[in-house]
């Protein structure tokens, strides 16, 4: 049933695959959501996105949820004194007037307990929870394992 629901979600979201979807909630704009293909479902997937806060009030990303993974969490890659570690991020600040990127080598969503392997060309929904703005869902494009950034014409990478 879980697989069926996921399959249905993937099919329903299919027309939006190439959209590089942009969604807004309040003063927040969420765009360039992408992920990488995984090798099987046994290893975690990753989630990257860009959030712009055009308002005058600080907000924060406090959690993510998705039917694609049983245990999605926010993490931050930290390289300190030449050692990389990946602590759990309780929340990611989205200050007023600023643009925050979850991108390789920094903040990222870690998608543990994948329901199924993520395949290049797929897309899946992720619901972002903000401390003040509330919840908003964005479709995430699964790119190649070797992708380095979002595959959108307007992406600044």
């Amino acid at each position: 049933m879980k697989h069926f629901l996921l399959a249905a979600a993937l099919i329903l979201s299919a027309p939006a695959v190439m959209a590089c979807e942009t969604v807004t909630i309040g003063d927040l704009t969420i765009e360039h959501a992408w992920s990488k293909a995984t090798i099987g479902a046994g290893r975690p997937g990753v989630f990257y996105v860009e959030i712009t806060n055009a308002g005058s009030v600080d907000d924060a990303l406090i959690g993510i949820a998705t039917p694609a993974a049983g245990m999605p969490m926010l993490h931050e890659t930290v390289v300190q004194d030449g050692i990389a570690s990946m602590p759990h991020a309780m929340s990611i600040p989205v200050p007023a007037g600023q643009n925050v990127q979850l991108s390789p080598g920094g903040y990222h969503g870690m998608l543990m307990g994948l329901t199924t392997a993520l395949k290049e060309g797929d897309s899946f929904p992720v619901t972002l929870s903000f401390e003040k703005a509330g919840e908003v869902t964005v479709n995430v494009d699964v790119l190649s394992l070797r992708a380095e950034g979002p595959d959108c014409a307007d992406a600044g990478q």
């Binding site: 050692i83 990389a84 070797r146």
Partner: protein
């Protein structure tokens, strides 16, 4: 008299040797592990994806690009291995002069999850190695790098790995040449390699 002369000569030689030894030792200590550190030859003995024992000695004649990581790592490891894959593609015919190695610092779990499928997904040239805990620690010591297990209830299997995220370049004679720090663009790694052929 001749004996005394010989004794004197030996004493001079011995003192000279001591001074040279002390001098080199002092120089070694003074420089730390910067890119200019004196030459050293890291060694390893680790099993590959098929369980065959591979040693540093068998790769003499090739440049080695060595990365220590773990396959459950969602961010740093795929980013670096993607860069390595890009370098191997861009080397063209020179690719045969370079052997990229992925050394697992989480060997037991990585063997269980499948090392070959992981490295092949990035590039067929990348060879995955996963030894025993002792062999892995010995290899890390030899490369002068750190890794450690961090208990994290929120991570898969309750732990994650902290590690030196650099990519290490070893010369055809086995000597350490340099480190590419995490995030070095593939194009920079490529041009550095090409300047050495």
């Amino acid at each position: 008299m001749r004996l005394r002369r010989l004794q004197l000569g030996l004493w001079v030689a011995a003192i000279a040797a001591m001074i040279i030894f002390a001098g080199t030792k002092w120089a070694t200590q003074g420089e730390g592990v910067a890119e200019t550190s004196p030459a050293f030859t890291p060694v390893f003995t680790l099993a590959d994806e098929e369980g065959r024992i591979r040693t540093s000695a068998e790769f003499r004649g090739k440049f080695l690009l060595v990365f220590f990581g773990f396959t459950n790592c969602p961010d740093v490891c795929p980013t670096t291995l993607s860069d390595v894959a890009q370098v191997m593609d861009d080397l063209g015919a020179d690719a045969e002069k370079v052997q990229p190695l992925f050394v697992s610092i989480d060997p037991e779990r990585d063997r269980r999850l499948g090392l070959a499928a992981y490295t092949a997904a990035f590039h067929p040239a990348i060879l995955g190695l996963a030894g025993t805990e002792a062999e892995t620690q010995a290899a890390a010591n030899s490369f002068k790098i750190f890794y450690g297990r961090e208990n994290d209830a929120a991570a898969p299997d309750g732990y994650s790995m902290a590690h030196s995220p650099g990519l290490f370049l070893i010369g055809p004679d086995g000597e350490w040449l340099r480190q590419f720090t995490y995030g070095t663009p593939a194009a920079d790694i490529l041009s550095d390699l090409q300047s050495r052929f």
